[in-house]
C-alpha cells in the first residue's frame, strides 16, 4: 500500500515538474515572439527603444509605433489566444471529444454572424461585441438542441456543427455583399480573422472579459473537474451536473464571442491548443491554464509570422491558422482511423 502510494506520489511530482517545464517553455516562447513582434517590421526599433517606449521615454515616432500599434496587437493576440484555448478546453472536456471545439462546430461562425448583423444591420459604429455574444449563444442553443437528439459526444454532432458552420459562412458572405463598401472592406479582412486593426480599446475589452470569465471558471472549477469523471460520479459527489454544464457552456461561448468580436473568426486555435497542452504536459484531462497559455503563445507566434512571412503583404492570421489547423484536423481524423 505504502509502495503504491509512494509511486503515485512520485508520478504526480514528475507530472508537476513536466507541467512547470512546459509552462516555462511556453512563456519563453511567447516572450521571444513578443520581442520579435515589437522590434522588427517595416519600422525597426531596438530593444532599448522598446523599453524606453514602454516606460514613456522614447521619441514620438517610436512611441506611436510601439505603444500605438505593436504592443496592443501583441496583447490582443495573447488575450484572444488564451480565450480561444480556454473555450476549446471547456467544450472538449464537456463533450469528451477533441473535435468538439467552438471553431469546428459553428460557435465561431455564429459569433461572426452576430457581429456582422450588429455591424451592418443594427449599429455600424458600435462595438460588435454584444452581437458576437448573442450570435455565439444562439448557435450554442441550436447545437445543443441538435446534440440532445443525436448524443453530444457522437461524431454526428460534430458533422451537424460543420453543416451549421457552412450555413453560417454563407450567411456571413451574404451579409458582406449587403454591407456598405467601407464596412465591407474592413469586414472582408475581419472575416478571415485578423489582428491588424486592434487598438488599446479592444485590449481593454478583451482583458476585462477574459478576467471576468476566468474568474467564473475558477468558481466552478471543482465541479468542472468532477464532471470529467462522468455525470454519475459527479452527481454522486453532489454536483448539480445540468446547471454546471450550462454555466460552463455559457462561459465558453462568451469567451469565443469576445475573441471573435475583436479579431473575427480565427479557426483551429481552440481545436489545437487544448490537445497540444494535454500532450506536452502529459496530463490525463485537459489542463485549463495550460490550454489558455498554449492558445496565447500559438496565436502570438502565428500572428508574428503572418505579419512578416510575405511582408509587405499582411496575411490575416486566421488564414495561417486555417492552413496549419486544417492539416492538424485532417491528421487527427486520419490517425483515429488506424
Amino acid at each position: 500500500m505504502s509502495i503504491t502510494l509512494s509511486i503515485a506520489r512520485r508520478a504526480r511530482s514528475q507530472r508537476r515538474r513536466r507541467s512547470a517545464l512546459v509552462i516555462a517553455a511556453l512563456i519563453a516562447l511567447a516572450l521571444s515572439a513578443a520581442i520579435v513582434g515589437t522590434t522588427t517590421g517595416s519600422f525597426h526599433a531596438s530593444l532599448g527603444d522598446v523599453a524606453s517606449a514602454l516606460t514613456g521615454g522614447a521619441d514620438g515616432r517610436t512611441t506611436v509605433v510601439v505603444m500605438g500599434l505593436r504592443v496592443p496587437r501583441i496583447l490582443a493576440a495573447l488575450a484572444i489566444g488564451a480565450a480561444l484555448g480556454l473555450a476549446g478546453a471547456v467544450f472538449q472536456t464537456l463533450a469528451r471529444n477533441p473535435l468538439a471545439s467552438p471553431d469546428v462546430i459553428g460557435f465561431t461562425a455564429g459569433s461572426a454572424t452576430g457581429a456582422l448583423v450588429s455591424l451592418i444591420v443594427i449599429a455600424p459604429t458600435a462595438s460588435p461585441a454584444a452581437g458576437a455574444w448573442m450570435g455565439g449563444l444562439l448557435t450554442v442553443v441550436v447545437v445543443m438542441a441538435i446534440a440532445r437528439s443525436v448524443g453530444i459526444s457522437r461524431e454526428r454532432t460534430i458533422l451537424a456543427g460543420i453543416a451549421l458552420t457552412a450555413l453560417l459562412a454563407a450567411v456571413n458572405d451574404y451579409l458582406l455583399t449587403r454591407a456598405p463598401i467601407d464596412i465591407a472592406r474592413n469586414a472582408d479582412q475581419w472575416l478571415h480573422g485578423s489582428l491588424a486593426a486592434t487598438a488599446f480599446d479592444d485590449v481593454g475589452l478583451l482583458l476585462g472579459a477574459l478576467g471576468i470569465l476566468s474568474f467564473a471558471l475558477v468558481i466552478v472549477y471543482r465541479d468542472f473537474r468532477a464532471l470529467e469523471l462522468g455525470d454519475d460520479t459527479a452527481r454522486g459527489l453532489g454536483v448539480r451536473t445540468g446547471r454546471v454544464r450550462l454555466t460552463l457552456v455559457i462561459i465558453a461561448a462568451l469567451l469565443t464571442g469576445t475573441a471573435t468580436a475583436v479579431a473575427g473568426p480565427i479557426g483551429f486555435i481552440a481545436l489545437a491548443a487544448p490537445q497540444l497542452a494535454r500532450r506536452t504536459m502529459g496530463t490525463s484531462g485537459i489542463p485549463l491554464f495550460g490550454s489558455a497559455l498554449t492558445g496565447a503563445t500559438v496565436l502570438l507566434i502565428a500572428d508574428v509570422i503572418a505579419q512578416r512571412a510575405l511582408a509587405p503583404l499582411q496575411i490575416p492570421v486566421g488564414l495561417l491558422t486555417a492552413v496549419v489547423g486544417g492539416l492538424y484536423l485532417f491528421w487527427i481524423v486520419a490517425r483515429t482511423r488506424r
Binding site: I162, G267, G325, A334, R337
Partner: protein, 348 residues
C-alpha cells in the same frame, strides 16, 4: 409445391412493374427538369443588373446587332449561362459518381475537398506559372483535385461499420486548409486576381467569354468516361467477387471513376471556382427519383445539376439588386440545411 414456381414469376412481374414505374417517373421528371432548364436559360439571359424583356433577348440572340442589348446578351449573358450549364452538368455527374463510388450519402465534390484541391491548382497555375487560359489551368486543377481526392480517400477509408463520417471530416479539414492557401495566394497577387475575387466563393460573374468553349472538351471526356464506367460501378456494389465474375475489373472501374470525378471537378472549378453542395443536392434528388443505380441516374444528374447551378446564379442576381450574391453562396443556403437534415435524420 405450386407456389415455388409461381412465386418467382410473381416476383419477376413485380420487379418489372417496379422498374417500369421508375422508368416512367424518371422520364416524366427528366422532361420536367428539361422544361425548367429552358425557362431558366431564358431567365438567365433576361435577368441581371439590367433586366431585358424576353422578346428583346430573342431578337438579340438571333441577330448580330451590336447595340446595348446585343452586347449584353452576346458578350455577357450567353457566356455566363453556358458556363453555369457546363459547371452544373459536371458537378451533378461528379456528385452522383462520388456517392456511388464512396457509398457515402454525404459525399460531395466541395465537402470532400476535391474542389478545393482543384482551386489550389488553378491559383498556383495563374500566380506562379503565368497560365491565363482556362484550357491551360484546368490541367493544374486536375492535378490538385487528384491529389486532394487521393489524400482524403487514404485518410478515411470506410471501415467495416460503414462509418461515413470520417470521410467528410477529413474532406472538410483539408478543404479548410486548401481554401486558406487559395486566399493567401490571391491576396498576395492582387492585380492578377482582381477578377478572381468572387471566383473563390463560386461565381459566374466576370469570367472570360470563351471559358465554356475552352473547357467543353474536358467536360465531354469526363462525362463519357463516367458513362463508360457507370455499369461497372453499379456491379461493384454487389461485391468485388461477383463483379469480377460479371467481367468487371474492380481496379480499372475504380480508377476510371476516380479519373472521371477528378476531371469533372477540375473542369467545374476552373469554370466557376470551388462550388460546394450542388453535387450533394443533385445526388439526393436523383436518388429519390430513379433509385441508387448510377447508370440510370447520369442523364437526370447532368440535367438537374445544370438546372440547379443556373438557378443559383439567377437567384443570386435577383435577390440583392444592384449587387449580386455569388452562386456558391446561394447553393450553400440550400445545401447546408440539406446536409444538416441528412446528418440529424440519419441519427434518429
Amino acid at each position: 409445391m405450386l407456389s415455388t414456381s409461381a412465386a418467382p414469376a410473381a416476383v419477376v412481374e413485380r420487379v418489372h412493374a417496379r422498374r417500369r414505374r421508375i422508368l416512367r417517373r424518371a422520364i416524366v421528371l427528366t422532361l420536367a427538369v428539361g422544361i425548367a432548364l429552358v425557362i431558366l436559360v431564358v431567365a438567365s439571359l433576361a435577368v441581371g443588373s439590367r433586366a431585358l424583356a424576353p422578346s428583346d433577348v430573342f431578337s438579340a440572340l438571333f441577330s448580330d446587332r451590336r447595340d446595348a442589348v446585343g452586347v449584353i446578351v452576346h458578350d455577357l449573358r450567353v457566356p455566363r449561362t453556358l458556363t453555369a450549364l457546363l459547371t452544373g452538368t459536371c458537378l451533378g455527374v461528379a456528385g452522383v459518381m462520388m456517392q456511388a463510388v464512396t457509398r457515402n450519402p454525404l459525399a460531395d465534390p466541395g465537402l470532400l475537398g476535391v474542389n478545393a484541391g482543384a482551386a489550389v491548382g488553378v491559383v498556383v497555375a495563374i500566380a506562379f506559372f503565368g497560365v491565363r487560359t482556362a484550357s491551360g489551368y484546368v490541367w493544374f486543377a486536375f492535378a490538385g483535385a487528384a491529389a486532394a481526392a487521393l489524400l482524403v480517400n487514404a485518410a478515411a477509408r470506410p471501415d467495416r461499420r460503414g462509418n461515413t463520417i470520417a470521410l467528410v471530416l477529413a474532406g472538410v479539414a483539408l478543404s479548410a486548409c486548401l481554401s486558406a492557401v487559395v486566399r493567401i495566394i490571391t491576396l498576395a497577387d492582387d492585380d492578377t486576381f482582381e477578377s478572381f475575387r468572387f471566383w473563390a466563393v463560386g461565381s459566374f460573374e466576370r469570367r472570360d467569354p470563351d471559358v465554356a468553349a475552352q473547357l467543353l472538351p474536358f467536360a465531354i471526356v469526363g462525362i463519357v468516361l463516367a458513362v463508360v464506367v457507370a455499369r461497372g460501378v453499379d456491379q461493384l456494389r454487389l461485391g468485388a467477387d461477383l463483379a469480377r465474375s460479371l467481367g468487371v475489373s474492380p481496379t480499372w472501374t475504380i480508377l476510371g471513376a476516380g479519373v472521371a470525378i477528378t476531371l469533372l471537378c477540375a473542369t467545374a472549378t476552373s469554370a466557376a471556382g470551388p462550388l460546394a453542395f450542388i453535387g450533394l443536392i443533385v445526388a439526393h434528388i436523383v436518388r429519390g427519383i430513379v433509385g441508387g443505380a448510377l447508370r440510370a441516374s447520369l442523364p437526370l444528374a447532368a440535367l438537374t445539376g445544370a438546372a440547379l447551378t443556373l438557378a443559383s446564379d439567377v437567384i443570386g442576381r435577383v435577390i440583392a439588386i444592384p449587387s449580386e450574391v455569388e452562386a456558391g453562396i446561394v447553393a450553400a443556403f440550400v445545401g447546408a440545411p440539406l446536409l444538416l437534415w441528412l446528418v440529424v435524420r440519419r441519427a434518429s
